[in-house]
Symmetry: C2
Subunit: 290 residues, 2 copies
């Protein structure tokens, strides 16, 4: 069954927002798409690339009367947008977001929006090194894993509309509770980014005199391990700020593991070292290869 | 100028040893290649794939009278082989190895072999998930970075022969002191392997009930970061045992960094977090991209 919306409001017209507009249009899923943003130049670009049909500087104006609202701002702005648009949200609207952490946002909506909640959090795991509406493209969400909030407090119609939206633009929807989502992405994405940055520094800080030799010796393993250290610092600062509890408790468990293997190596405990690598190999297979 | 050897002895006919035999033969660099190993089946395979011309169960028999000896055993066996072959080494021989850690082995040779030393350590950074003589191929060393020991105590003729050997089979030779080599590979290879194994475990140990969700959510970043966690545990156990001091001191510095960023995230210190990621991005660029 094909989703169709009369008026869609996309709050935030960066890569994710403009790609969503293009995807909805290319599938004939929306009669009219409004875009909101705080920079006129981005809004102009979104109009020019035909990702949206009209633009607004105030999210509330874009949201007023829309039947689908998708908040595509950075994670730390989502709760503010929710407060801002709540008074104009109709009783038939479906509202979602695309932020990469979910518990704070979903809890905020649960506490401030009327029950059953018409806000259903999402996290499409799409992205790119590029950003801005000029890089949007309609296939961004095709084959992309998208987490959709599950919970008994959600309005079933809004939930179906949000899950349907993502399926229609080509995403693979996975439902889970926000807290579970945040713990998993802390361990599969956020902590790996922290660790990759620390590993890159460790190699670079071997001493200036040896930096040429480091460069001569780095191989594909180091390149792979540190690839995500090239990501944008301000994005990862914001993600760490919005998901700090699961990241900190995951880092504590990680530190414990590294301390143990450090001591096993210092003590030349062959069996413990081999077991550590065997567990790591099994874990990689259980999480990636199966 | 093309290197040519009358009799080459390859001690250890696994992937590296048999590939070296095949590379020497395909370039007409050796009149006769002897292979030594402690398992008759591996020796038979090396003969069958034509990586060697004759085989020996005792390294000393293979080394006797050779003008080039390349020790291709696991790192922890190299010093024993050096002790074993020393009495039969001629005054014109050049001896090297392929172990991935260098300080212990080069120090052992320096202390036990007559000066100027005809043993010159090497580390060709080649390898593969495959092992055994049946997987050897003559192009393995082409374009492969190969570290060759440098030092005033080395015999210049032996040093030139070893560096020439690697260049002739297609490797890019980089000269450095064993201690510098070991610190750099600890940070660009060994510690990343330890960390990748710990990251894979962290994701797998989120709880059995959530393992399916972890698998649904792992993306290309996680795959890249943990790829080397799939390596063979016994290889990495041995590397940790042979290079423990640089690994332990590198891990101590790494732990310090992770503790600092853990506290910055727990304290929601936006500037410190952004700086951390910025330094990581710079370090990645300085070590890989330049």
């Amino acid at each position: 069954m094909k989703q169709r919306f009369d008026t869609v409001a996309i709050i935030g017209v960066g890569l994710l927002g403009s790609s969503l507009g293009l995807a909805l249009k290319s599938r004939g899923m929306a009669c009219h798409i409004r875009g909101a943003g705080h920079r006129q130049t981005s809004l102009d670009t979104a109009l020019r690339v035909n990702a949206v049909d009209s633009v607004f500087l105030n999210p509330r104006d874009a949201a007023d009367g829309a039947d689908l609202i998708v908040i595509c701002t950075p994670a730390n702005l989502v709760c503010g947008v929710l407060d801002n648009i709540l008074p104009v949200c109709s009783r038939a609207v479906a509202v979602t977001d695309v932020a990469s952490t979910k518990l704070d946002i979903c809890n905020h909506a649960r506490e401030t929006w009327p029950a059953p909640s018409r806000f259903v959090g999402s996290h499409p795991m799409a992205g790119s090194e590029k950003f801005g509406p000029e890089h949007g493209y309609p296939e961004l969400y095709e084959g992309c894993v998208t987490v959709v909030e599950e919970g008994a407090h959600l309005d079933p119609g809004a939930h179906a509309a949000v899950a349907g939206l993502w399926r229609t633009v080509g995403a693979n929807v996975v439902e889970m509770a926000p807290a579970v989502h945040d713990v998993i992405v802390a361990r599969t994405s956020h902590i790996p980014h922290v660790v990759a940055a620390a590993l890159a520094r460790l190699a670079a800080e071997v001493g200036d005199a040896s930096l040429d030799k480091v460069r001569a010796l780095v191989g594909p393993g180091f390149r792979d391990v540190t690839r995500i250290a090239a990501s944008r610092p301000e994005i990862w600062r914001d993600i760490c700020l919005t998901n700090h509890d699961p990241i900190v408790s995951g880092l504590d468990k990680f530190l414990e593991q590294i301390h143990l293997i450090r001591d096993a190596i210092a003590g030349e405990q062959a069996d413990a070292i081999e077991r550590f690598f065997q567990y790591g190999r099994d874990a990689r297979q259980n999480t990636v290869d199966r």
